[in-house]
């Protein structure tokens, strides 16, 4: 999915939103949410080769696999939370958007907890 198609799709969705917003404001929100979701699907699709390349690189570099897995999990959580927070802000619910972002940050900290543990373990071993 090349970038040109995605950009054209985005412009078309924006124009469609403007047209429909005057006629029926709720479905304009529906169009923007749906266009956002479709563009994100294309973006994540574009990302998969680079994810595989990073996996191979981390194996060659000798990094153990679960740290890279935590990295990708955090990235995925950020993707989903930004999508939902921006959709909430689009609908005019800024408070809801910031709460969604807070939930996303909490999820990322929970996911990255084991990495902190291994770091602390490493430091205590060094100090002894």
């Amino acid at each position: 999915m090349n970038v040109v198609a995605v950009c054209g799709f985005g412009i078309l969705a924006a124009v469609l939103c403007v047209i429909v917003r005057r006629i029926n404001p709720e479905s304009a929100l529906g169009i923007s949410v749906c266009a956002g979701v479709l563009i994100l699907i294309a973006a994540v699709g574009m990302l998969s080769p680079s994810i595989d390349a990073m996996n191979e690189l981390s194996e060659q570099a000798g990094l153990d696999a679960d740290i890279v897995k935590v990295l990708f999990k955090a990235l995925a959580v950020c993707y989903i939370t930004t999508l939902s927070a921006d959709c909430a802000r689009d609908a005019g619910e800024t408070a809801l958007g910031s709460k969604l972002e807070f939930a996303g940050r909490a999820a990322v900290t929970v996911i990255s907890l084991p990495v902190f543990m291994s770091l602390a373990q490493l430091v205590t071993d060094l100090l002894q």
């Binding site: 006629i23 029926n24 709720e26 993707y79």
Partner: protein
């Protein structure tokens, strides 16, 4: 990149608005409200498969859970 999904949602929105106006002019105001709600529900039902596809793609690419 389903372009026609966007056009379908726009069409549902416009048709709901037109029906709303028609019902208002023939003083069936409560049915006008019903049409609005129905239009919204149809739009949401169209968005859900796209969301499901998004979460499946994210799960495949990032191996989330």
């Amino acid at each position: 990149m389903e372009l026609d999904l966007l056009f379908k949602i726009a069409a549902v929105g416009i048709i709901a608005a037109v029906l709303n106006l028609i019902l208002k002019k023939t003083d069936h105001d409560e049915q006008a409200v019903m049409i609005n709600v129905a239009g919204l529900i149809i739009v949401l039902m169209m968005i859900i498969p796209a969301l499901e596809e998004l979460f499946d793609t994210i799960k495949d690419v990032f191996g989330l859970w």
